[in-house]
């Protein structure tokens, strides 16, 4: 459970806020996607949820952020770190660089929690399995391909089983099947009721297929909030530079050509597109 009330934030030395008067409630067990163009404030939101703002980045923060019912600004940072797991936009920054093997790297965060060795081994193995790096267990975390490193970074956070999971473009270097699998895994974790998920993503086809909700941020402010398929079909969201599926783009092209029925909903997913364009073909 997360709640933001009137949050406005400016980085030190900047005059224009990176987030403007943002209010949000994300209930426990929800999978909420955050979409928006670059510079919209998505990473800034992730930093606020994880307490990097204001604990590491100072600047000016107004409003209130509550995590699991407690004020994030006054909660001891250690407690917040255990509650919120953040997968960073650049996986390289997530790797400690001090571990010789992938499995030790993934176990790194668990070491300080006083968890019995057996449980630790089991959790690390499960996390590696989930992101498909079991075969890399004994490899050096620094001698990996980009996508392999991103998988390790994801596993190193999942293994902590945080109550709140924040993922900042976690599939940016994953192969297509790997990307879909991460969405699927996150979907399952949220559905099990164990985790509240906030996932920043550009892959809107999978946002529409897997997330409960999408919020569109533009220029630091909330532009749209709702069911992903609904949000992704909104014209102002599209005009603000949020990605669209090729299905939606094809429908928009027909619209431009004057061949789209007025008021007909734009297809966002493959299933919707199949129905819509089948009907279109029949009509002709």
């Amino acid at each position: 459970m997360i709640s933001l009330q009137g949050v406005t934030y400016s980085y030190p030395g900047t005059s224009s806020p990176a987030l403007r008067d943002l209010s949000l409630e994300i209930p426990r067990g929800q999978f909420c996607a955050v979409i928006g163009p670059n510079g919209a404030g998505k990473t800034t939101l992730a930093y606020i949820l994880a307490g990097f703002i204001p604990h590491f980045y100072h600047g000016s923060l107004q409003g209130e952020v509550n995590v699991e019912g407690k004020n994030a600004a006054t909660m001891p940072q250690r407690e917040l770190l255990r509650l919120v797991g953040l997968i960073l936009q650049n996986p390289f920054n997530q790797i400690s660089g001090t571990k010789v093997t992938v499995q030790d790297e993934i176990a790194f965060g668990l070491e300080n929690l006083g968890i019995p060795r057996e449980e630790m081994v089991a959790r690390v193995a499960a996390a590696m399995e989930l992101v498909g790096v079991s075969e890399l267990a004994e490899r050096s975390p620094l001698g990996l391909s980009g996508g392999q490193m991103q998988r390790v970074a994801i596993a190193s956070v999942l293994v902590m089983q945080p109550a709140i999971l924040v993922l900042d473009e976690p599939t940016s270097q994953l192969d297509p099947v790997g990307s879909r699998e991460v969405f699927q895994a996150v979907r399952e974790m949220a559905s099990s009721g164990q985790m509240t998920v906030i996932m920043i993503e550009h892959k809107v086809e999978w946002v529409a297929a897997f997330a409960d909700r999408a919020i569109a941020l533009v220029d630091g402010a909330l532009l749209a909030d709702g069911e992903p398929r609904h949000v992704l079909a909104i014209d102002t969201v599209w005009r603000a530079g949020v990605g669209q599926t090729r299905y939606t783009l094809a429908a928009r092209r027909l619209q431009e050509l004057g061949k789209w029925q007025d008021g007909k909903r734009l297809p966002v997913t493959l299933d919707e597109a199949t129905l819509t364009f089948k009907a279109f073909q029949k009509r002709r």
């Binding site: 001698g143 980009g146 392999q148 297509p176 099947v177 550009h202 092209r253 493959l270 089948k278 073909q281």
Partner: protein, 277 residues
């Protein structure tokens, strides 16, 4: 006195990768008997699952890595006989992770680094750098520290610094990582522009929709080998093969399949044209 070389003309340069294999010092074999030929002016995508060997392969094309067996030739130059600095006059490589590439203290110095090494006159270097910054839209932040830029801007800077060297071959590793929709469109049009100038473009990408729209030829890799090599339409149409390689068909092809079409569209325009006759 430094005598300026004549501005690089776009000499046609063929790339010949002849049965190369490569093993990292740690003992991991990343490439196994790869043979490919890329003609001058082609637009080729490398696709395939994480760890397939795509980055390892492209790092062979500018001599950053040398094959354990087999040979790589760029024009008449065998990478075994030429330094990375020499290769850099023919092949520009934009790293997958910009942090591996950027190490100067300002955007401007970062951009000037390559041209300075090529010993271009200050004037020529500055004008090439300016034009390249404008191409990616970063001309207004010359004095900034590269590390203060957002990830997507660092990626664009890494691209611009390669463009500034005006090489015949441009290799770009995961160009769309971290870019938003407009960023992806912008990179697509930069690649088109370079290709119009006659340059050879080799792109590594997981963004299959981007691949379908931007590259005429695709090479699918898996486990250090080439699995498919042909026109992008041919390659991506082999849906079961690419699925096995952890790649998916682009959205419009999946849709065409659902609609029962034989025709496999690569772009929205092609899709609409087929749909609407």
């Amino acid at each position: 006195m430094i005598v300026e070389k004549a501005p690089a003309k776009l000499l046609p340069i063929e790339i010949e990768v002849d049965s190369i294999s490569f093993t990292y010092p740690s003992g991991i074999q990343a490439l196994e008997d790869i043979t490919i030929h890329v003609s001058s002016g082609e637009r080729v995508a490398l696709i395939g699952q994480n760890g397939a060997g795509k980055t390892t392969l492209v790092k062979h094309l500018n001599g950053l890595l040398k094959p354990v067996s087999g040979s790589v030739k760029v024009g008449s130059w065998d990478t075994h006989d030429h330094s990375v600095a020499q290769m850099a006059t023919r092949v520009g490589y934009v790293f997958q992770n910009p942090d591996d590439q950027l190490f100067q203290r300002t955007v401007w110095d970062e951009m000037m680094f390559g041209p300075r090494n090529l010993r271009w006159s200050a004037e020529r270097a500055a004008s090439s750098v300016q034009a390249s910054l404008e191409m990616v839209g970063l001309e207004h932040i010359k004095e900034m520290h590269p590390y203060d830029l957002t990830f997507s801007s660092r990626k664009l800077l890494a691209l611009a610094s390669v463009l500034a060297m005006d090489t015949q071959v441009v290799i770009i590793d995961e160009p769309t990582t971290g870019q938003d929709y407009r960023g992806v469109q912008q990179i697509g049009s930069i690649l088109s522009e370079l290709n119009k100038q006659g340059k050879t473009i080799i792109g590594v990408t997981h963004d299959i929709d981007f691949c379908a729209e931007q590259f005429e030829r695709s090479i699918l890799m898996a486990g250090g080998r080439v699995v498919l090599d042909g026109s992008t339409r041919q390659v991506l149409s082999q849906i079961s093969v690419i699925d096995q390689a952890y790649v998916e068909a682009p959205q419009l092809m999946r849709l065409a399949e659902k609609l029962g079409w034989d025709f496999m569209p690569l772009t929205v325009e092609e899709f609409i044209h087929h749909l609407d006759g």
